[in-house]
Structure formats: C-alpha cells, structure tokens
C-alpha cells in the first residue's frame, strides 16, 4: 500500500511544482501587459488579446501537470499489477 501513498505524494508535489513555475510565468506576463497598458492605454485591446493567448499557453503547462496528477490518482495504469503483487 506504500505504492498508493507515494502516488498521492507524487501527485501533490507535482501539482505544487507545476503551479509554482506557472504562477511565476503568468505573473511576469501580466506585469509586462499592465506596464504596456499603462504606457499606451490606446493599445489595451490588442495587448489584452495577446496576453490572454499567452496566459492560456502558460496555463496549459499547469493543466498538463493536473492531467498527469489525475491520471496518477484516478486512472493509474499500474493499479491492477500492484494489487496483484500485494495479494500474493
């Protein structure tokens, strides 16, 4: 059963590390976008669109981590083998 405990830990830590980097990246992107809008408010429409695409791109990294975490937690491909080994 330690296998499943390690799965939980791996999923939690993976999500933490993934969202750490994503948070930093999105913060930098928003910082630059806000600076751009403050300097040139008339370009805010274009900056907003570009920022949204960029944010979605960065966010997808965290989403990949989330998907992997969900696979580890709910659809682990090794569950059957581990249960078989544990049953022996």
């Amino acid at each position: 059963m330690t296998f499943f405990a390690w799965c939980m830990i791996a999923a939690g830590f993976g999500m933490a590390i993934g969202s750490f980097g994503t948070g930093l990246g999105q913060g930098l992107a928003i910082k630059s976008a806000v600076e751009g809008v403050a300097r040139n408010p008339s370009a805010s429409g274009k900056i907003l669109t570009t920022m949204m695409i960029g944010l979605a791109m960065i966010e997808s990294l965290a989403i990949y981590v989330f998907v992997v975490a969900m696979i580890i937690l709910f659809a682990n491909p090794f569950t059957a083998q581990v249960m078989e080994l544990a049953g022996k």
Partner: protein
C-alpha cells in the same frame, strides 16, 4: 464521479441505452444550438429586435475577430470557426446549470474537436498551396530540411494534444474544484467558484477558437 445527479443520464437510464454522459449532453448542446438558430432564422426582420439582436452581435463579433486575426481571407472559414466558438462556449456554460454536465469536461469530445482542427489545417494548406505546402515544413535552408522536417512534424502533432488537454484540464479541474467545495460547505461557498467558472468558460472557448484560427492562418500564408 463529479456529479451526484445528471438529468439526461437519468433519462438515458430509463431508456436502457448505454451512452456516456458526454454524448447525451453533446446532443443536448447540439439540439439547443440548432434549434435556436432555426427558430431565430425563421423570423428575420430588417430592423432586428430581441433575440435577433443578440445573435447578430454574436455573429458579427466572431466575424470581426476572424478578420482581425486571419485577414479577409479567413472569412471563408467562418462557419467552421463560429461553430467551434459557439459549441465550446455553450457546452462550457451548460456546466453551471445543476444536473448538467459539460461535454468538454471529457477528453473524447475535446479530442474530436482538436483532431478536426488538425485535419482542417492540413486540408486547407494542401488546398491552398498544392504540393508546395511541404515547403511549410522545410525551413529556410534546404540542407537543414530533414532535421527541421522532423521537428515540424512533432510540433504539428503536439497541437491537437495541447488543444484537447488544455480544454479538458480546465473544464474537468473546475468540475472537481466545484465538487470539493460543495462537499466541504454546500451553502454559498461554491458560488464564487461558479463565478470563476463563467470566466473560465469564456476564456477557454476564446482561446480554443483563437488557436484554431492561428493554425489555419498559418496554413494559409506563404512559406518563407
């Protein structure tokens, strides 16, 4: 797992058919969109009012967005892109009604949508450029072409993967967050998360549509 009660699944169980919840709810969204379009297009007037106003502004907004990102050439692909936008938006927003499940929170629906984008990109590219569409994959220097070809192929294959996983992860993650909050405090606490769900629904529909447009525009432009 995410929903305690799904209305259409209950109907489906009464009928003893074996359909996934994403299939039934996708049919629901399709019926909703087709029915709405049919009913509104029956009574078109020169001076719009009520529902026609709303639909005209939606269609006009999407057309403006297409012309802005793809240029006037992109108008040809308006039906495809507007369908993506409306279908994804409505199926994301359907999640906010209790007893309804967003079909985009299932990887199968999203993979179908993303593969359509992938196939359409290359079909449009071949239709537009013929055999010289291959130049898109060659890069600027002929000597490096075999190397760049492999990289480009991997890049193109990553597109449907990232498109489908982004939409799936966002919608499914939102469902799970809602359910966890609902299990912790059923009263009032899920409401701010549902507010964020509206934002996520709009942004993800927008991002999917925008990326589809950018990919198609990339296939349309001349190879450099």
């Amino acid at each position: 797992m995410t929903h305690p009660f799904l209305f259409l699944q209950w109907v489906e169980e009464q009928l003893h058919t074996h359909l996934g919840e994403h299939v039934t709810y996708m049919w629901f969204v399709m019926l909703l969109l087709i029915g709405l379009a049919f009913v509104i297009s029956r009574g078109i007037k020169m001076v719009p009012s009520g529902w026609q106003n709303l639909m005209e502004s939606v269609v006009g907004g999407i057309e403006n967005l297409i012309v802005e990102t793809m240029g006037p050439k992109g108008r040809t692909y308006f039906p495809l892109i507007a369908t993506f936008a409306l279908f994804i938006l409505v199926s994301n927003l359907v999640a906010l009604i209790p007893g309804f499940y967003p079909p985009t929170a299932n990887l199968n629906t999203n993979a179908a949508l993303a593969l359509t984008v992938f196939a359409m990109t290359h079909i449009i590219g071949v239709k537009e450029h013929g055999i010289s569409y291959l130049k898109h994959f060659m890069g600027p220097i002929l000597a490096l072409a075999p190397l760049i070809f492999i990289i480009e192929i991997i890049g193109h294959l990553a597109r449907p993967l990232s498109l489908s996983l982004r939409l799936f992860g966002n919608m499914y993650g939102h469902e799970i967050v809602l359910m966890i909050f609902f299990a912790l405090v059923p009263l009032f606490l899920p409401i701010p998360m549902m507010m964020m769900g509206i934002l996520v629904a709009f942004i993800q529909a927008f991002v999917f549509t925008l990326l589809a447009m950018i990919y198609i525009a990339g296939a349309l432009e001349e190879a450099h």
